[in-house]
């Protein structure tokens, strides 16, 4: 299919100037590259793609090989007023990549080395273009792990994690990406290269690491990071429990985290997930000790099959009754737990978790569900396209709040969008003061434009409910352009300070313009 694409706005002279910095082989204005790098995985743009709509292609894709090249590229673009959009793996789901004003995509993937490892201090110096899975594959034989395992690990980069404040599936032990940062190398639009001081234990000065992290390419380019690494765990313990409803399960999670324990995995599935596990688990008996849950991963596959048969597709056009039906399910929620580390410490933490869960009225479901989850933990991100192919959309919304507000927020969001999409959730990324709620939403409509409108309406409604119930609008996917309109509300009277930071570091506004709600 021929795709109509507006011509690159970059003159030959400018393309040559970029090529003089990185080499001709690392500058592309080819149509296929401009298409490929014109978006991330925001479902709205996935829907656009399905109807051949590519409204915001970049003018060129440039791939620097070192910090000095990034510096020279930025200085050139800053002088010429050319927008620059840093690009890692393109796996974001919030339209953090969408060259609304054209410009240059800065493809960071050539910068993918582990520069050094300080094994005493457990710090790795890493270039940010490295894929997460390759990073782990290089660290593991040396006895280390970064402990960062997002489900997108095969197609996302360290730079992307830092830009969007990512979280891995084992964040309850290793922390979110911002918790792992010791220092950063950042290139500002004027080409200046800055290295932040080691992260703080005290507060004698501003910690710029935490200002640059989460800035999603709007302040500068993170070219290198000094990251905490940990020993590869010598031992893992697997546990699973059933609780009579979400509230009982959340109570157990809260008590585990407030006891000072650090399980690597602590995930609670709501009633719908748990029933699907019992119904569709491969050869499973839900009451057996080794019952395997199918969870969201397998459910996506099943959902796609059902959609193909049209029955659920019809149902998804009337999601209200589908959501009501899930309210009739028996109150039974699955909690999956993994502890890890040196054998005695992992075993001790497992014992403490077991004691707390039993005290919180949990029934042991054996090791099976936790082991099954571990084996299938990356499958989800690669099954969503089947849903789109079947004529529906699917999206996820990860928000966070304090323990006091978790249940009200969960109920409020479900109620708010109940007539607009089918919705379910799990609870993960737990902390002593709260946790993340990970909503999965899907819906269908009669035609592509109706689907796009429905998708935007669901988000608007859901985020309003999140805001009303004291939740942050994102826990680890980032803001992008899809949620940027809500960011000034979350920052309130401090929003002008964000604008002040942007103005101080990027006075010409060339860095990822329009992202994070930073309209010129």
């Amino acid at each position: 299919m021929a795709v109509p694409l507006k011509l690159s706005a970059l003159s030959d002279q400018r393309v040559d100037a970029l090529a003089a910095i990185v080499g001709h082989e690392h500058v592309s204005t080819a149509t296929h590259d401009r298409l490929l790098y014109s978006r991330d995985m925001w479902p709205q743009t996935v829907l656009w793609t399905k109807r051949g709509h590519f409204p915001h292609p970049p003018d060129a894709v440039v791939s620097p090989g070192c910090t000095e090249e990034v510096s020279r590229l930025l200085a050139y673009c800053n002088g010429e007023g050319i927008p620059v959009i840093p690009y890692g793996g393109g796996s974001g789901v919030c339209a953090g990549i969408l060259p609304e004003q054209g410009g240059v995509i800065l493809n960071m993937r050539r910068m993918d080395r582990i520069v050094s490892i300080d094994s005493d201090a457990m710090i790795a110096e890493i270039e940010t273009g490295i894929y997460g899975e390759i990073l782990e594959r290089q660290l593991n034989p040396r006895g280390f792990t970064m402990g960062h395992f997002p489900s997108s690990i095969y197609c996302s980069t360290l730079g992307g994690y830092l830009a969007a404040r990512s979280a891995g599936q084992m964040s309850s032990r290793y922390g979110k990406i911002e918790d792992m940062v010791i220092g950063l190398e950042v290139v500002l639009p004027d080409g200046s290269i800055h290295r932040t001081p080691m992260a703080q234990i005290g507060t004698s000065r501003i910690d710029w690491n935490q200002i640059v992290i989460g800035s999603e390419g709007t302040l500068g380019v993170i070219t290198r990071a000094w990251m905490k690494i940990s020993p590869v765990p010598a031992h893992r313990e697997y546990l699973s429990f059933h609780f009579r409803g979400v509230d009982e399960g959340l109570n157990a999670m809260r008590r585990v985290m407030q006891a000072g324990l650090e399980p690597s995995v602590l995930r609670l599935y709501d009633e719908f997930d748990t029933v699907v596990a019992a119904t569709h688990g491969p050869g499973s008996n839900p009451d057996a000790a080794d019952a395997r849950p199918s969870l969201w991963t397998q459910r996506l596959g099943d959902l796609a099959e059902m959609l193909k048969k049209s029955s659920l597709n019809r149902a998804l056009k009337r999601p209200g009754w589908l959501n009501k039906a899930t309210g009739l399910l028996p109150p039974k929620c699955l909690l999956v737990v993994i502890t890890e580390g040196e054998p005695d410490l992992a075993a001790f933490e497992a014992k403490r978790v077991r004691d707390i869960c039993r005290d919180a009225r949990g029934q042991s479901a054996g090791e099976g569900p936790a082991r099954y989850w571990m084996e299938h933990r990356y499958a989800i991100s690669y099954k969503q396209s089947k849903i789109f192919d079947a004529g529906a959309w699917v999206d996820t919304m990860e928000v966070a709040t304090t323990w006091r507000d978790v249940t009200p927020l969960y109920n409020a969001v479900r109620a708010a969008v109940a007539d607009q999409c089918f919705i379910m959730a799990h609870f993960s990324h737990a902390y002593p003061d709260g946790c993340c709620i990970y909503f999965s939403m899907t819906a269908s409509a009669d035609n592509p434009s109706a689907m796009e409108a429905n998708h935007l309406k669901v988000w608007q409604t859901a985020l309003e409910a999140v805001h009303r119930n004291r939740g942050t609008l994102t826990h680890h996917h980032g803001v992008g352009r899809s949620k940027g309109f809500m960011l000034p509300r979350e920052f309130g009277a401090l929003w002008p300070l964000c604008r002040q930071i942007k103005g101080a570091l990027d006075p010409n506004g060339i860095m990822n313009p329009g992202n994070l709600g930073m309209k010129p």
């Binding site: 800055h194 004698s204 000072g260 410490l345 323990w403 709260g434 826990h475």
Partner: protein, 341 residues
């Protein structure tokens, strides 16, 4: 001590919103009524308000038992230059743009005045165990503390005094290092974690002791001390806190120990453990009647150079009798802050 009052207490989420004009000790006392604690140790007599610690005037690091300052501070409430009130969004974690807590804390009130904070609080510990060792080799103690930190068996309390400090405490005959470690929390937790640490410490070359310490060290209010006791005619002139990575710690620690024999006495104590680094607290002492401001400034500068040479990050410099020398202000600034103005 002025009583602190909570603006809000969410015991379920373990969060307390407090007035930043209250002292940490007053906040601790108010929390104690709810069987909660901030996890601060050793600030009982300090009159500085919480805001001084948050904006970066005083170092809180050596007194924290449960992580760094930002593990303590979940949100801050500020007054903007135009008088408007504002607060950072309260959430256990967020991916919603830059985290302004890290700009407002440590900013010395340049962009907004900190007026309140929402702090993470903990249940008061059910149990606590402490052990004291005289160890033949400083490096063995450092290695063990590092390994246990990486294994996530970090003690809540640690004080490691080098041989020079120990000599001041015990007299010329004693040249070993003094290590104090403490665990607290639930009874089962403490027994297990403390037991693991003590088993490893017992395997090192040295002596486990309690009885040989001066009696007041057993006073719960003062134990473990941040510093070795002052002699009657001594006083503190300068206090410094600096962090350095584990790989650079031993050369720096030994270098500072050697430096302790200068014109004025220098005490060096390891007071904080982090994944990648350790916190050193330093105190320059002078003797009554022998104070020479020029010499003290020169001594301080020598110590600062020593820290910079070993790539330590200086967290706090507090001359007790005077203002911070303009020459040293650059130690607390950086190129990005300079841009923000």
């Amino acid at each position: 001590m002025k009583n602190a009052s909570f603006l809000q207490l969410d015991a379920f989420s373990k969060l307390a919103t407090v007035n930043a004009a209250d002292t940490p000790a007053a906040i601790e006392a108010a929390l104690a009524a709810h069987r909660l604690t901030l996890g601060l140790d050793g600030l009982d007599g300090d009159p500085a308000p919480l805001s001084d610690y948050l904006k970066g005037e005083c170092a809180l690091g050596p007194y924290l038992k449960y992580g760094g300052v930002h593990d303590l501070v979940a949100a801050v409430q500020v007054e903007l230059p135009d008088g408007q009130k504002a607060e950072t969004f309260l959430s256990p974690r967020s991916a919603a743009g830059p985290d302004l807590r890290y700009l407002l804390c440590g900013d010395h009130d340049r962009h907004a005045r900190i007026v309140g904070a929402t702090l993470r609080v903990h249940d008061q510990p059910e149990a606590g165990r402490r052990a004291v060792y005289l160890l033949d080799f400083l490096d063995e103690a450092v290695d063990l503390l590092r390994d246990e930190t990486h294994a996530r068996n970090r003690p809540q309390l640690v004080r490691l005094f080098g041989p020079e400090s120990v000599r001041a405490l015990f007299g010329e005959r004693e040249r070993r290092s003094l290590l104090v470690v403490g665990y607290e929390g639930g009874e089962e937790e403490v027994e297990f974690r403390f037991g693991r640490m003590v088993t490893k410490l017992d395997a090192l070359r040295g002596t486990r002791l309690m009885a040989d310490l001066p009696p007041h060290y057993f006073n719960a209010e003062q134990f473990p001390p941040l510093w070795v006791d002052l002699k009657e005619n001594e006083s503190s002139e300068v206090i410094l806190h600096a962090a350095t990575t584990w790989s650079k710690l031993m050369p720096l620690f030994e270098s500072l120990e050697r430096r302790s024999g200068g014109i004025y006495t220098l005490q060096t104590t390891l007071t904080g453990l982090m994944h990648e680094s350790a916190l050193l607290s330093l105190r320059l002492l002078s003797y009554e009647g022998e104070r020479d401001r020029t010499l003290i400034a020169r001594e301080t500068e020598d110590v600062l150079h020593q820290l910079v040479e070993h790539r330590a990050v200086i967290r706090e410099l507090r001359p007790l009798n005077g203002r911070i020398d303009k020459r040293w202000e650059s130690l607390f600034s950086d190129s990005l802050t300079a841009r923000l103005g």
